[in-house]
Symmetry: D2
Subunit: 348 residues, 4 copies
């Protein structure tokens, strides 16, 4: 497309309000240059989009970010095609009924975290299976056990039974990194029909089944109004002795105290990237809980993931510029947008 | 095969000398029962096979273990079909020229370790890539860093460039567990032709290339008379800054002091399952070396692996009973048996 | 869900107008029973939905079929959640702007044909590569050539370069059945961003590249207002000598006379499942054209595919009954619905 | 290896007797140049190797071909390391006991045919499943049936149950090209232990099971003294009605008259690349048998396959030159060499 090679005076207008991200976080220098070459980018105060003035609002084609928008402000933006939410959790801060009625796409970019989180999830599973952290700490201290002596409770991921709760982008990425392990993978996702899971090569299963029949259980479901705290004492008790519970999405789906109790009792092992409070108070019991592997919400936040957000934004804006539907980002759904309860992040 | 369901008086004779393993270690109770139902098993002192007497020697079809055998003793064993080495490292303690001339198979079962070691290798790579051990230790101590702050040097395995040195059973198992990562995998193995590697979906490469072009480098080559200490200061200097070096086979292929220096300087990160001395002296510098992940020769020694040895032994003996070649264990090769230098283990 | 086990008096209302399909074609007996147990199904004349009366219209939740709908009729259907088009080509016979504004889903089930068509496409490629039809006909006639003599122009799919134009459900299914061939697969799809193709493991490419660099070229793009007849004499001339051109979607994307000329000249070989007129006139030159493999629009129309339509319909209606978005069928897109030009089928 | 770039006076000696192949058939011009640069190649009359004279015999390191060798002649060849059989069927024309005792490798290159034959086998399966040949012939004649009308007996390979008898190179290649079809694949191979099949991702099965439970049954077993004609009327009767029987190895494993009867009765469909006599008499009933797809021993004999033979030969000779074992060609086994009964080909 030769016309993209030079700045154009009639470039479509983009309102930039990506907080808590920044354009520099989500675009590589090259991508940022492409953004500016193709679009007129207006930096905006997310708390005052209305104040941008009608010359800007009436021309705006895209919003990068997720600023609060009133019905009035939307009314003043007749050319708006998409809100590109680069935070990735949806806040209920705009009249979504109006947005959907007008066919304005609400797009999220959280998919960029799927691959890094899946790798961390696999790492956690392997760490729990082989006791890697404690073995290294013991080795530092001179009390390591050699060979089979150190492997009394070690187990393989290959050939094991694995459960995944939630089969969005992250569940799919997990399934992919698990593909070399010849494991039996069962998935519970009440928002997906069985045949979609079968097509992905996994076995659809009830919550009861994935709890009771997994050696490794990955939780990647988003918090919704339906599932807050749905994994509690009863769920953990239903798990196999020695099974590994790996929490990768949001602490809100779990009764954290019950999880701690289940690990403390020795019934299961666990790893988590998310916690009820972040940062976590210094005296929190999970900090020194044996059988628990901790990650301070680091699973997804890799620079390469943020940079992919910018790529996704550019790719979908280019499709929409050609009056095609966006195919890269995930679209918020009219039916479920109001059910989402994940707290947006405040740090990147 | 109904005839195997009851003990037979004419059962083939097996000499059992599996030290340092034991039959109980390598056979499940079920497998052990099958062994005894099918074969007459004579427990022997490995140091005195000759003393078994001619009635036993003249009938022996298989030896399970790797006891020293003299030419004379072999001469007295006209029906010997195979020596099934369940330790897996080959010792030069029998006249291999005679053995091969007679078509006696020398079989090793080290293949059982490939899957557990590959999983540990992948875990090590992910741990080095994401700094999981130090992050957990920091979290315990209350000095964890949250989100992207803790990921300054984090990287993905997905889409990376990976090198593997050695493409025996372990290299192949590694390639398998890496199959979901869309990585570019290069293999250096001077004992295999390029087309075999291409058929396995990896790129054949020189040692120089895998050293210089890998983000993660796995060393799974056995020690031979050709490659002792072949990875030294020059090799480490040729690696990419920040690359991960993961040693899974034998310490003998590496100049360990040079490896420590390369990690200490911050040039590379490393993990190892094997060490120049095992157990390692308490004061050894690698014990507290930052950027180094330690495993006390635990990567392969899982109970499930030992039990698979017994299965392999039974499967191949059953083929050989039918005058078919063994297809499960690995056969020692006339050309290379004398080049092998791995020290056998003394503990399981 | 125990409540589904017995007929309910408050069952949601479904208007059935599946012509040219029938309910018996698309539902197995079991599925039909589930449909009736869960829903009140009103059979309707597709040409007179308006005549159903307000009692029906005001209650209707789903339409199975694609009958013409006026704005007035839609107005009388306040509870309509989805039009489930079981033919799969979209006709411009309803006010789509109203439909989309109201959030009524327009769903197509053509995905069921992807797998059968992909298998036929692969079969065509292998047939062209190995000359299977002519070889069998020759064998019947006693003029077969044995061994290498019969393989002068034979080639392998394994390791070849393959192009796919269009990467919807069918393109993805083709990519899947090709996964065992270690081929280099390039895809041209102007409606998809490059990164989506890269994630699927294929190489994004321009139309020029897939034409010029393919040994086998599969055309699975739907006809749109943009691409009618876009593959003509120039395109065929750009192809590699001896390459195979396999047409699986709609004849409308191809200049068929130019295709015939290109095959007649010996420059390329071709196979097609679709033709400019169906049925094709008896004297049409393609009927006896050497180097051309013919299939009378049979690639997709398998009974098993039709029956899967009914499953998809049931699965998505069940999600929508729970106020969740449909995840099984394909949704018509506001931006592209008007561009679609495929003629609906008149026979199943 | 710079030393290979120029002819050497001390090049190892190769005796060339590749009939019925020729060096030009199995080597590309480049490979032939490499052969001559690295080796001193002596063209020999296969029927008179003894006549080459002691200067040649005493120096010969390799024989390319499978000429008759007497014990005396072998005695005169003290440096012989390998007989590289480029025909690929083993003839009992040398004292194999002597050969094996001396550790001379007997290598076959039939593996080059695995990929082309597997592709042909898959093509045959798809052809039988979809009736492609008859549909094309009908189309030529103007009696084609359109859409579902033409698909009454059509079926999918995807999701089907598939049996493979024999899991050598060809069985493995078949398994690979079938990998995108989500089929359940069972394998019967009495020469392989169950765990080897499980590791390959297929299900080990008895002959009875693969006969009774397959929608598609591929026969790729070599003829041995144990299995001549083992698939007869009883086996075909045990197959599922409408199942497809695909014969790819040797006609000798099948009772061909019984196969014809089973197809004639309509019970099964079949395809074959091999026949009891080749060429087949003109009046043979299989020539016009409906439900039977014929290929005149063309499945493997592609030029690209022959050229790969030369590559394999060069790769393994290079390993053996370095005193390493050959890793590319297949080695004849002491236990089974005498059981092989495949007739060598007389045409390429």
């Amino acid at each position: 497309m030769p016309e993209t090679d030079r700045p154009r005076t009639d470039r479509p207008l983009v309102i930039s309000a990506p907080a808590p991200r920044t354009l520099d976080l989500i675009f590589t220098p090259d991508a940022l240059e492409r953004l500016h070459r193709r679009y007129r980018v207006i930096e905006a105060d997310p708390e005052n989009i209305a104040g941008l003035g009608s010359a800007v609002l009436s021309e705006a084609r895209y919003i990068v970010g997720q600023p609060p928008l009133s019905a009035d402000t939307l009314e003043r933006m007749p050319r708006l095609r998409a809100v590109l939410n680069v935070e990735s959790n949806l806040i209920d801060n705009m009249p979504y009924d109006v947005v959907f009625r007008r066919g304005i796409h609400v797009l999220t970019t959280g998919q960029v975290f799927a691959e890094p989180v899946a790798e961390m999830g696999l790492a956690m599973a392997l760490n729990l299976a082989r006791g890697i952290v404690d073995a290294d700490v013991d080795f530092r201290e001179g009390r390591e056990r050699w060979g089979g002596e150190g492997n009394k409770s070690a187990r393989l991921l290959s050939g094991s039974e694995i459960g995944i709760i939630g089969f969005g982008d992250l569940g799919k990425a997990l399934n992919r990194v698990l593909s070399g392990f010849r494991a039996k993978i069962r998935v519970h996702d009440p928002w997906l029909p069985a045949s979609v899971l079968l097509d992905a090569g996994v076995e659809p299963a009830s919550l009861e089944t994935v709890l009771a029949e997994s050696d490794f259980l990955f939780v990647v479901a988003a918090v919704t109004s339906d599932n807050e705290g749905f994994l509690g004492a009863k769920a953990f008790a239903a798990m196999r002795p020695g099974a590994a519970f790996i929490l990768l999405s949001r602490a809100g789906v779990v009764d954290f105290d019950a999880l701690i109790a289940a690990v403390e009792s020795g019934h299961i092992r666990a790893a988590s990237d998310v916690f009820p409070e972040e940062p976590l108070p210094l005296g929190h019991p999970v900090r020194r809980l044996p059988g628990f592997l901790r990650s301070a919400h680091r699973a997804g936040a890799l620079d390469i993931a943020f940079k992919r957000m910018g790529e996704m934004v550019l790719e979908d804006m280019e499709l929409m510029d050609r009056s095609l539907p966006p195919m890269r980002c995930k679209r918020a759904e009219r039916e479920t947008v109001a059910r989402m309860r994940s707290k947006p992040v405040t740090v990147n």
